[in-house]
Symmetry: C2
Subunit: 290 residues, 2 copies
């Protein structure tokens, strides 16, 4: 059996009991380590599972799927994914490949940022499509995410912004010269994300985002005991660098279909409570009790 | 500490290791039993946890929150929620109440239908807002969900349709007479959901949904070993009553931003593979390899 097992969000104890049983039945275990990461090192997982993990980078998953699946008709092989297995396209590829090879597979679900983001107090059914924000470079500042936020925003919906993770990336020079030298991992912070959002706004000027009048909620290390939730205007979050601490960071752009209960719940996390309520009321048109 | 613990989707083993540790530390445990349900009886949870559970119905959660939270400053109290804790508004209420009482709280996340729906092979970031479909009655056929599907549809996005669950509901007569007599639980099936969707289409006639030209994916018992995934046109799903089996059922309306890889992945589950590909190609404009 080929198991694809969600690990949840924070550490080795976020696996489900069913997932742990599957892990312990596996002859070979891969840890997907490029679309997201847990907040603890691989060794901590290995100690808890009582077994070694093979780190699977993007290259391996995309080009060596048959090696990953080898023997899985006869013995159990596990593929561990941070969050839920259906976050990233490449895992669908793996499951399709298993199917083609006649290898039976089973998916074991877990929390992912796509649903745990509800912890910010905004209702999940008021979220539109999620978007990804990649690190801008000098010459490459892709902004199609802006159109997606605009679509959500016109419907009054919230947007989850997934912030870029660069693990085992090569510099342009090393890539061009074919040198397998990798840069240190980078994780986009909330303040940098806001910089980029506001930069795109200055370029596109469709008034989708405003430093002082767009509300947002930043969340770091969701699901861990060190989770931080910080609510405010984009400008307030941009200036709140130290509050969020280490990765991973996520960001929610608040839509106009904001409910008073959502305002109340998130107010606890607001950088400036009065300002949070003022914008909710005057800009978002939320009817709040005084 | 007041723990709000997600149980995941199917049975007692879908709880996380962290969740199970919290359960075992709790002096008192409530099981929320009205917004969703696991696929196993309460007794099976109790046997696995080694402790009794207090069933919390809507009434109790909405009117007796202080009783639920009693003593949680000094001992651990747990509130168990099927799926993830942030699916339903009332749990935000409970957490707000805990905050007001000065009771520390911790949320333990898990998979919910909001992210596990990815198992159908459609990419989560191509989903728009989720909608709820309630049981129509002779005199009450609320159709605001139709506007939400239309909004998603105009953007080409998929829609997760959450199907109604009626647990511990009173008949109109018993309600009017104040008799606490409850109807047997009811869970909306995929074919009934399609009936209702197409009924609303005949009323609204905005060509959002079409029996023969709207693709959809029905899923039953997501996350369990008895999960079924069935893809087809709305008409095909409407006629596929017996395939889905017992509750819970969920439905996805496929949007036009359909990717060829999504078509390939779901084809395995199609009632009629040729028809699935034909509609994807001719109606949805998907460029598929022949």
């Amino acid at each position: 059996m080929f198991y694809v097992i969600g690990l949840g969000l924070a550490d080795e104890k976020d696996i489900t009991v069913r997932g742990l049983e599957a892990v312990r039945s596996c002859r070979r275990l891969y840890l997907e380590a490029y679309t997201s990461m847990l907040l603890v090192p691989k060794e901590q997982l290995e100690a808890f599972y009582g077994t070694k993990l093979i780190v699977a980078d993007r290259d391996m998953v995309e080009t060596e799927s048959d090696a990953i699946l080898e023997g899985a008709k006869d013995v159990d092989v596990g593929f561990l994914v941070v969050g839920d297995p259906f976050g990233a396209t490449t895992h669908t590829d793996l499951l399709l490949r298993a199917r083609a090879l006649g290898v039976p597979s089973r998916v074991i679900h877990n929390a992912s940022i796509m649903n745990a983001i509800g912890a910010c107090g905004l209702q999940l059914y008021n979220f539109g499509q999620a978007v990804s924000l990649v690190f801008f470079t000098e010459n490459w500042k892709p902004d199609s995410y802006y159109d997606r936020i605009k679509e959500n925003s016109e419907l009054g919906l919230h947007t989850l912004v997934l912030l870029d993770i660069k693990v085992k990336e090569q510099s342009e020079e090393n890539l061009a010269r074919g040198r397998k030298i990798y840069e240190p991992p980078r994780y986009m912070s909330i303040p940098l994300a806001v910089d980029q959002l506001l930069y795109t706004e200055t370029q596109r000027q469709q008034r989708v985002l405003s430093a002082k009048e767009t509300l947002a909620i930043g969340m770091s290390r969701v699901g861990s005991s060190k989770q931080r939730i910080v609510a405010g205007t984009l400008e307030e979050l941009q200036g709140a660098g130290d509050i969020f601490g280490p990765p991973l960071h996520s960001l929610v752009i608040v839509g106009k279909r904001l409910h008073p209960l959502e305002v109340d719940y998130a107010e606890e996390s607001a950088i400036n409570k009065a300002e949070w309520r003022r914008v909710a009321q005057q800009v978002y048109g939320c009817r709040l009790d005084e």
